[in-house]
Amino acid sequence: MAPFRSLVEERYQKSIEAAKAGEPTAWCVANYSMGDPILMAMGVQTVYPEQYGAVCAAMGTAQEYLKRSADEGFLDFQCGYARNSLGYAAKMTELGQIPAEAPMGGMAKPKLLLGTGATCDGKFKWFQAMARYLDAPLWVLEVPHPAVGESLKEGVAEHNIRFMVEELREFVSFLERLLNKKMDWDRLSQIINDVIELNRVWRQVIELRKARPGPMHMRDFLVCMNASLFLFGDLKAWTEAYRKVYAEVKYRVDNKICGINTEEKYRLIFAQIPPFHSLKFFDDLAERGWNFVIEGSNYHPPIPADYSQFSDPLERIARFSYQFFTGFHEDAFHDKEYMGYFAYPNLGYARDYQCDGALFHALLTCRPATNQLILVQDRLMKKLKVPTLVVQGDLVDLKLFDPESALRQASAFEETMTHYRKVRKEAGLAW
């Protein structure tokens, strides 16, 4: 897991160096490998204000940027990552340079902003609001979010993919004008092949976590996931790093080594976005034997599929990204569960990873990550007799997350999980 820890810090350093050398930097939102491969192929360094929000929260500088964004007129219920970066951008513009206190060297002034309509309105509205401070143009990637039933109707997937490909072609054209250079299509093709392979290997690691005891706790997963979710650097090297993780986790599986280094008493699923500023919370739960063996699908690669028949790299990108949002739709339709991409997979995870309980983090400033949690809580109980503990918190505002209060509920929830083991047995469920 070790090399992944440096990935986050390296990224910011690289972008600062690039900016100093006059090379372009993009501020991006997580775009499910739709825009990142194209930016990589065009030689653009990427930083992610979402990720940077978590960094600032962990390093203790978020409160200052949150206050600044409030002074600028942004509202307190809006995304903490957004407000952190809006406050940061306001201060950077005022100073004419990166603020001194910015952790990891800060985010360099961008040449462009890359938003998306995927998963969250904030992912383009927030970047649109950034125009107050940054004169960088904003491109918004379009990603269809068809409903379960609608997506399976004749012709729908095809026109959705056509739409995405056309949009990506326009995005390439935009970048060529902005950067005054042409796309290297061979390089792009290789990059997307590398992305697909990287995620295939990473997915194999995630599959290993079905073993008992769980060989890889969510904490380790969160360290490693950045190479997949936020593409960076030498993708072949990161794929090799994932292969080493696979070997390490496989060793644990074969030797029944538990990922929490103590007895696994309870297996849990976590959704959706963790309190990155307070991850020690999970260590405290691990000491009680809580092993988070799987987490919500927002951090996972798409269900594997074969893209080899598609020669157009843009079509491969589109299909890969579309798979993230719709790969589970056939199963969901069969189960008459019409919920979306952050909801339905949790049912499968709870079953396949044999979870005793779920811990859901309801975020006061992130509706996309929280909207469906009550629904999933209900379905987990009704279909699988898996209970859920809901803990309120926030992306970056430490004042809104009370780990002590959450820990005080642990004991009672353990009793609940123990009880529902019996209930599941009586209901004929496998675990």
């Binding site: 600028e72 942004f74 004169d135 979306g340 929280t370 909207n371």
Partner: protein, 392 residues
């Protein structure tokens, strides 16, 4: 309250406003299919063309939200929670189905929750693109074709271009009458209040288009002739923002020294001002109007698509310039920006709109509310203070 079918104009408006489902239930009993929709993106012309009654799903500010808490967290849009709550309580049991759209994150998720928990006989979700790019317009047309197929399958009828064009003409006629109604607030004092206008808009969402047209004609004729319209007041306000489907907020504002002369909200001008161009293939006109012409913040707009340079003021002008035009045409001397708590799409607009309004010298204030009448009392004080600013 029983809606007396012989009532006309503002009396009928009031009756419908107070008992919205009444006419829809009558029509359903008479054999019509009633199709629920939320927001301004489901294409109503397609419902009308298949002889269905489009029925706007709204909330109820007076009904405590209880059942919706079992499937939606309480830190999401209270209007959407209220709509779902009413659905779960059976208040929309007269609907034959629902057509919902990807208008914002919360409605997207709530659409699926509605599908799961209410299990309507007909459900369709239109995944509206987020930009106005050419490819997005093409995509939206494809999505409308999907919608058309599902409606045809449900009704057993074919939706032919001539029939659809007729429906477009009817809805355009209704829109023209709404604009004529709004023009009645250009004089000083306005001939009809913002509160009364809102009631008319809510009533229109409860009727088939031809009945809405007749209601508008009656109302316009009545308002033009009456002598007891609104009083002249110091403030002529433009109200912008999240959905307002209840008169409480407007009543509060107009109880003060202010007339609301124009709005930009979805039960208001936003839904009715743009027409559908009658194109050879009617789906082209519909796709363009609903994706490009509707000015809801859920759609990403920019001064020039794909521009490699950005100028903030140019961007603001392209996004909000129409508000300046409204203010000019309706002689508004102040703007109230209002949003429901947890409304992200409108919330992110607020600093930018304020910058724009400050740039053109229009006094403005932002107020936030939580879709409850209890929230209005402290807001009244703030609005009063704002009106002092306008009075100078």
């Amino acid at each position: 309250m029983v809606v007396k079918t012989q009532s006309k104009g503002l009396t009928r408006v009031q009756e419908i406003y107070q008992d919205r489902p009444h006419r829809a239930r009558e029509l359903k009993a008479g054999g019509k299919k009633v199709m629920g929709y939320m927001c301004i993106y489901p294409v109503l012309e397609m419902l009308t063309a298949l002889d269905m009654v489009p029925y706007g799903i709204l909330g109820d500010i007076k009904e405590p939200i209880t059942k919706a808490d079992s499937c939606l967290p309480n830190m999401v849009c209270p209007f959407v929670r209220s709509c779902l709550d009413l659905g779960l309580k059976g208040k929309y049991d007269f609907l034959d189905g629902v057509a919902l759209a990807h208008t914002c994150d919360v409605i997207e998720k709530t659409a699926h929750i509605w599908h799961i928990y209410l299990d309507p006989s007909y459900f369709h979700f239109i995944d509206v693109p987020h930009t106005t790019h050419k490819a997005a317009q093409k995509q939206f047309k494809e999505l409308l074709k999907d919608f058309q197929k599902s409606l045809e399958s449900f009704t057993g009828k074919q939706l032919t271009p001539p029939v659809l064009k007729k429906a477009i003409q009817a809805h355009n006629q209704q829109r023209a009458l709404v604009r004529e109604l709004y023009d009645l607030r250009k004089p000083d004092p306005p001939l009809i209040s913002g509160t009364e206008t809102l009631k008319v808009m809510v009533a229109l969402m409860s009727l088939p288009v031809n009945e809405g047209i007749n209601l508008l004609k009656e109302t316009i004729a009545e308002v033009k002739q009456r002598k007891n319209g609104p009083q002249k007041k110091s403030a002529r306000l433009l109200v912008w923002g999240s959905i307002i489907d209840n008169i409480s907020l407007f009543e509060m504002i107009e109880s003060l020294d202010a007339n609301i002369v124009i709005d930009d909200t979805c039960v208001g001008s936003r839904a009715y001002f743009p027409d559908v161009e009658l194109t050879e293939d009617p789906l082209d006109g519909l796709a363009h109007r609903y994706l490009v012409e509707l000015k809801c913040p859920r759609t990403f707009r920019e001064a020039e698509i794909g521009a490699t340079k950005k100028d903030y003021l140019t961007d603001l002008e392209s996004r909000f310039g129409y508000l300046g035009e409204y203010a000019k045409d309706w002689k508004a001397n102040g703007v109230i920006l209002q949003a429901l708590r947890y409304c992200d799409t409108h919330g992110y607009e607020v600093p930018g709109i304020k910058d724009y309004l400050n740039h053109i010298g229009l006094p403005n204030i932002y107020i936030e509310h939580d879709y409850s009448e209890a929230a209005l009392a402290p807001l009244k004080t703030r609005v009063q203070a704002f009106l002092e600013v306008i009075r100078g």
